[in-house]
């Protein structure tokens, strides 16, 4: 009949008290566990985002430097209207970087727009919104052209926002041709299929081009909803070779691109290539950057989620310790007679405290099971709530950035920081990534052990805090008065 057995007998005999304790400890463990789970899930999400940062580098005009230059010219000559002049990336410069070690391929992207000639665009509510009126007043056409070297490598295809549904992708072999990939909605609206030709006019109306459809792709609808007002329907985006986009933009754009994306064969070499690349280009004109914006977005939002989860864990742990300590203190009061009897038989105070601890520990084991079942549920609910708040802020701030710089070809006043050419692609890319950053709250033995350890510390602390009451008890006072 050692104190373990006594603890057990006491728990069994005082069922009401035991159940009450179970409820309290389960509630504490449930929230601690939910916090722990969210924290781990946030860590995992950040890790995943880090891993999914493509091993790519993007070469584009250095907008920041250009903006500074514009401000300088603004202050020096107040008469002329300030102009943001950014130079397109020269393909000859891009090729220098492409020759560096670890660069496996590159994809030049040029965006521009044209008007339809003899077929209809797809109109959606967003394009018929008041903001849609902006299109006709500016030099922006109905059709957005993404001129790329290789469609499969462009971000919208590599992140599966866009999927090929018929025909083929555009490759470097299409350079110099008028081959085109159109969106399935557009194809449906105009009954177009692979092999057909369409005509487009330059926005000035001076030139007409005939394009041959070699592929049809489907844009995921989520991209549509993520697009800000003023952006045209993604179905009106066509993919052509980079050279064709340059031709549309004008002769001075020959052999250039808005941006060039390099695929790095070895992801860990990204920074090394970035350094080497910067040494071969004019960094005041161009910027070379790794596209980790989606990682940064996820990281930032997960940081908030984590700090909130940590606060839950700490607050509940501290509050739980205090609550349990108070309960143990009350128990010691209520059980002073029993304690006195044990003391009169020569039981050590340490063992009496141990008995109380073992009783709590037994209750804790059961509450761990309850928390194990319930914590995952609460963690999931709470986690989704937190993430949806975080992602909403992240995407809405992203969309507002897309406003001024969103449509290429339209000069815009505000610099968009790390946002480069091919803005629209980046945007839809980013929002879809942010959406992927869902918290997967899953239970693992490691986490249960962690929870058990925390529970152990909590009850240990609470018993130690309350034990003073036992040390003060004198058996004579308890038993003889």
């Amino acid at each position: 009949m050692n104190f373990f057995k006594r603890a057990w007998l006491s728990l069994i005999a005082k069922k009401g008290r035991s159940v009450l304790m179970l409820i309290v400890t389960s509630a504490i463990m449930l929230f601690v566990f939910a916090g722990l789970l969210i924290n781990t899930a946030a860590n995992n999400a950040t890790e995943q985002a880090k891993e999914s940062v493509g091993a790519t580098l993007t070469l584009s005009a250095n907008r920041e430097a250009a903006f500074k230059k514009m401000q300088q010219s603004q202050s020096s000559s107040s008469s002329s209207r300030p102009k943001l002049t950014t130079s397109p990336v020269k393909l000859s410069d891009a090729k220098k970087i492409a020759k560096l070690a670890n660069v496996s391929s590159y994809n030049a992207t040029t965006s521009t727009s044209v008007n339809t000639d003899g077929f209809d665009t797809v109109s959606t509510t967003s394009s018929s919104s008041p903001m849609g009126g902006m299109k006709s007043s500016s030099s922006t056409g109905d059709i957005t052209i993404n001129g790329v070297t290789n469609t499969a490598q462009s971000s919208s295809f590599s992140d599966k926002t866009n999927k090929l549904t018929a025909g083929r992708q555009l490759t470097s072999a299409d350079s110099g041709t008028n081959n085109v990939m159109i969106e399935s909605e557009l194809a449906k609206a105009d009954s177009l299929k692979v092999g057909d030709t369409i005509k487009v006019k330059s926005t000035s109306g001076s030139k007409t081009y005939q394009l041959k459809i070699v592929g049809i792709y489907k844009a995921s609808s989520s991209a549509t909803t993520q697009m800000g007002p003023g952006a045209s329907d993604p179905a009106n985006t066509i993919y052509t070779s980079n050279t064709f986009a340059n031709t549309v933009k004008g002769s001075k754009y020959a052999n250039t691109a808005d941006s060039v994306t390099f695929t790095i064969s070895n992801p860990s070499a990204v920074n090394q290539v970035k350094k080497a690349g910067k040494s071969v280009i004019n960094t005041s004109k161009y910027s070379l950057s790794a596209d980790d914006s989606s990682y940064q977005t996820v990281k930032a939002s997960m940081k908030n989620v984590k700090s909130f989860a940590n606060k839950i864990v700490w607050l509940v742990s501290i509050a739980g310790t205090i609550i349990l300590a108070l309960i143990v203190m009350l128990q010691i009061r209520e059980r002073r007679h029993e304690i006195g009897v044990l003391l009169s038989m020569g039981e050590s105070r340490f063992k009496i405290i141990s008995q109380l601890f073992v009783e709590l520990a037994m209750v804790m084991v059961v509450s761990l099971v309850i928390a194990g079942i319930g914590g995952q549920f609460i963690g999931n609910k709470l986690g989704q709530q937190l993430v949806s708040q975080q992602t909403t802020t992240a995407t809405s701030s992203g969309t507002s950035q897309a406003g001024p710089g969103g449509t290429t070809g339209r000069p815009s006043g505000a610099p968009t920081g790390n946002m480069q050419g091919g803005m629209r692609q980046n945007m839809s890319n980013q929002s879809s990534k942010a959406k992927q950053a869902k918290l997967k709250v899953t239970l693992s033995p490691v986490q249960l052990v962690k929870l058990g350890a925390m529970g152990f510390v909590i009850i240990l602390l609470s018993v130690v805090i309350a034990a003073g009451g036992i040390l003060r008890l004198r058996p004579k006072q308890i038993l003889l008065e």
């Binding site: 009949m1 050692n2 006594r6 007998l9 006491s10 069994i12 005999a13 005082k14 007679h337 029993e338 006195g340 009897v341 044990l342 003391l343 009169s344 038989m345 020569g346 039981e347 050590s348 105070r349 004198r474 058996p475 004579k476 038993l479 003889l480």
Partner: protein, 223 residues
């Protein structure tokens, strides 16, 4: 075996000592009855020799060693077993487990021996069913007998009991007194019983009367 010298005690609010300069010797193999008026200080005296409280004056020593040196917890664990006026059983256990708990805490030589505990409870008139019920389901007299069994189950050489027969009928009283006598004479324990009952007192080897703050020892033969 137990030596009380120059013992004095008073409660804080009291003007006079309950008793002072008490010198008594208790021998192994003997039973003692402590008698005296209600409120004279018998229970207080018992609490001192049982190591539940410390004397204001004087010392209590066991086989020549001051019990404070032994350490009161140690002393209670190994050297003394107590039967309380109010039984003081562990209410969340059966009588059997109460006895087993005492045997376990005191590291008794019979530790873990269920049969030994059952035999003892049986001798004190508890049925097998009663032994495994909750003690709270027993009558006062039955609880008192469990308390006595608990004190007898341990190895302690000194057994002190406060009104152990207060709630017992005549037959049970006789049986309990008999058992206490056996403890003293057959197991060479020192038994000290506080009692109001003349019959119980008379059955003990010696009587110690507490009156007017003094202990007076009488031989059984001289009663």
């Amino acid at each position: 075996m137990l030596e009380v010298s120059n013992l004095g005690y008073w409660y804080d609010h009291q003007d006079n000592s309950l008793f002072n300069n008490v010198n008594l010797t208790f021998e192994a193999g003997q039973s003692y009855a402590v008698i005296g008026q209600s409120g004279s200080g018998k229970t207080t005296f018992l609490s001192l020799i049982a190591g539940l409280d410390v004397p204001r004056e004087g010392t209590i020593s066991l086989d020549g060693q001051d019990i404070q040196q032994i350490g009161l917890t140690n002393y209670r664990k190994h050297d003394v077993s107590i039967v309380f006026q109010a039984y003081n059983l562990l209410t969340y256990m059966s009588p059997l487990n109460n006895v087993l708990t005492a045997m376990s805490i005191t590291n008794s030589s019979h530790q873990g021996d269920q049969q030994f505990a059952k035999d003892l409870l049986g001798k004190l008139g508890l049925t097998d069913v009663q032994m495994t019920q909750m003690v709270t389901h027993l009558s006062g007299g039955q609880q008192q007998r469990v308390a006595i069994a608990r004190a007898m189950a341990v190895d302690a050489k000194l057994v002190v009991a406060d009104e152990p027969t207060g709630n017992l009928d005549e037959a049970n009283t006789k049986e309990v007194v008999n058992l206490f006598q056996k403890l003293a004479h057959e197991q060479q324990k020192c038994v000290i019983i506080i009692t109001h009952e003349p019959d119980v007192a008379a059955a003990c080897d010696r009587q110690i009367k507490l009156s007017n703050h003094e202990f007076v020892v009488k031989d059984a033969t001289t009663v």
